[in-house]
């Protein structure tokens, strides 16, 4: 449940993420109009936005510390923001700049911020095994940090997810798997690709607690996440949590969404978890001005991050050759010690014996 301060913090994460993506969208479309060309403009490549999914990230990450690990999928910004990833450097990365989180090598689907315990991957469900590994490290070292893997409902039939559930369960690792169910995997409605409407039931087969939050009510998400994360932190093993969210936009920018019924798009637009949380905050006596100032501060931070990012230098072409391996190498030498293994003598003896 949490006090008003906590709810306000979630509200802040959510409005930050929403506005951040609105601004990214504008920047992304620059140079891509009237004809949409994915390789043009200041942000090229695919861009997956998460408008309508903020409650899941905010509700879960509220209970995480900096030393906890989060892995996110191809739709990562709202999760990164809620986990406290450096906004400026993340933005610079999305703009492909030298001072970005990954020096311009990763881009929006491959953001790494070890200081904030955050990483993402564009391969469906493949963030799950590394999250299990982070849990394994915590468990081996007797630390009380936890790991959370975010995935979409489309990922719940992937081996990487199901195998991770099992490994986390048999080793009782401090891992929470969070399914963001936005009803769609690109153009495939979830009933076409899974016979189970409630993805949290996947937990049953692994004898693991599974819970579904049937709405994108940030408070309900936070309550359920608190329990699951608490269980992990107390060394009582992994959990699976599914949250119903909504995809307010196309799968990626440029998606014509011709496969999607209009009613479904409208329903997603009507359900706004941010407005819902704002209403609850008002009900609890928070003034409109307070909410407004949270919004304004968030917008300011976002605008600042975007301006900063756009001012950053591009990497030089030669930077492409750096970073294939950790540099400088540690723990290795470039000298091989000299031992007398008696090789010559033995080789001679063998050939002598054979003939």
């Amino acid at each position: 449940m949490g006090g008003v301060t906590e709810l306000q913090a979630m509200f802040e994460d959510m409005v930050t993420a929403r506005y951040y993506e609105e601004r990214l969208q504008e920047e992304y479309l620059e140079g891509k109009q009237p004809a949409f060309d994915i390789s043009a403009g200041p942000i090229p490549g695919e861009l997956h936005l998460a408008a309508g999914q903020e409650a899941a990230a905010a509700g879960v990450c509220r209970h995480l510390r900096d030393d906890d690990t989060v892995t996110a999928p191809h739709r990562p910004h709202h999760v990164a923001i809620a986990k406290g990833v450096d906004l400026k450097r993340m933005t610079a990365e999305i703009f492909g700049r030298e001072t970005g989180l990954c020096g311009g090598k990763g881009g929006h689907m491959h953001l790494f911020d070890p200081d904030a315990g955050f990483a993402c991957s564009g391969i469906i469900a493949e963030g799950c095994p590394p999250a299990v590994g982070a849990g394994l490290a915590a468990s081996k070292r007797n630390e009380d940090s936890v790991a959370v893997a975010f995935l979409g409902e489309g990922a719940i039939s992937q081996g990487g997810f199901l195998e991770s559930l099992n490994l986390a369960a048999v080793r009782e690792l401090p891992v929470v798997f969070v399914i963001e169910d936005n009803d769609w995997a690109i153009s495939m409605p979830k009933e076409r690709v899974s016979d189970v409407a409630d993805g949290s039931r996947r937990a049953e087969g692994f004898d693991m607690p599974g819970t579904r939050v049937d709405s994108d009510d940030a408070i309900a998400v936070s309550d359920a996440a608190k329990e699951a994360i608490g269980r992990a932190r107390d060394r009582n093993g992994p959990s699976l949590l599914e949250v119903q969210v909504h995809r307010r936009m196309g799968h990626f920018m440029g998606d014509p969404q011709t496969y999607r019924p209009e009613a479904d798009q409208e329903a997603a637009a009507d359900r706004d978890s941010i407005e819902r949380l704002a209403a609850e905050l008002r009900r609890r006596g928070v003034e409109d001005e307070t909410l407004e100032s949270i919004r304004e501060d968030a917008h300011e931070r976002v605008d600042e991050a975007i301006e900063w990012a756009k001012d950053q230098p591009e990497p030089s072409p030669e930077d492409a050759y750096e970073d294939v391996f950790a540099n400088p190498p540690s723990g290795v030498t470039d000298e091989e010690p000299a031992y007398d293994l008696g090789t010559d003598a033995r080789a001679g003896a063998e050939s002598g014996g054979d003939d």
């Binding site: 949409f36 990954c102 564009g122 391969i123 992937q158 492409a320």
Partner: protein
Amino acid sequence: MAESEPEPEQEPEPETEDDAEPQVVERDLTMSRAMVEAIAHEMREDEEVFYMGEDVADYGGIFDSTEGLLEEFGHDRIMDVPISETAYIGAAVGAAQEGMRPIAELMFVDFFGVCMDQIYNQMAKNTYMSGASVSVPMVLTTAVGGTYNDAAQHSQTLYGTFAHLPGMKVVVPSTAYDAKGLMHNAIRDDDPVVYMFHKRLMGIGWMPAPDGPKTPVPEEAYTIPFGSADVKREGEDVTVVTLGLHVHRALEAAAELADDGIDAEVIDLRTLVPLDTETVRESVAKTGHLVVVDEDYRSYGVTGEIIASVAEDRLADLEGVERVAVPDVPLPYSRPMENEVIPSVEDVAAAVRSVRSTESGAE
């Protein structure tokens, strides 16, 4: 078996004179339309042909690889499948072993990691391990390539990876005409065929293609035999061997070089397995200079393979050799770095100039 390339499209009756006038083809298609036309044709002829993949039904394939097929064939034959590549690609293997002719799509070749066992240990080996008592007549279609800043997990070609592993045929079309004929052959082939189409060549609205891949395409079915490279431009001075998108980059480079009096021959391999080394060797015998251009990683790959296959047989013909490929780094996201590592028209032209300058070398 299959029809062959329709140079003079004739009724296959009396094989008298082969100097009949070739039929003029006036209809231009994008590479994706041509590929889809072949699939639709085969599906009409043989109801055992079906297509499985993510977003291949209502979406029509993220890269238009199945555009319009749902309307004609319905969800039973144009099947959207769960994001479970191991399961559905493996299911294609099993259905093929039952004698059906499945086509399974791996949305991006980069995703091969989650399903490589089905591809390599099952699809590619079952024929051999069974002493050919089993065959696997399926096609694995997959999108390849970069040039649009989609970073390391969505931009590879992996040509060499697939071609390296024995047991699957590997097809890489560069034009609409080739795409259609190669697809007919792929579906009719009794062996597993990996059909790698370059995103940049498909003619997708949101990813503009260069000029070359849209070509005249005959309406009727025709097959292009595997293992026959195509000389896309004849030349006397240097042999440029390449495939996929880089056929067009090489042709552009050749046009530039021609202005400087360098006459480059451009060979499009079209299939990596089987590999037409004869066409390459003959060309090198003529030019003495070989440049191999590849959008895959440099080491242990296509460039080394082509050069070795010429050197093994015709070392004396080789006056100069260069390779142009991705320099053994994952594909970086940011534009200046991606441009640096994916071979450009200028890179190809520079390699041709450089290989020519080795002519009267030290020896």
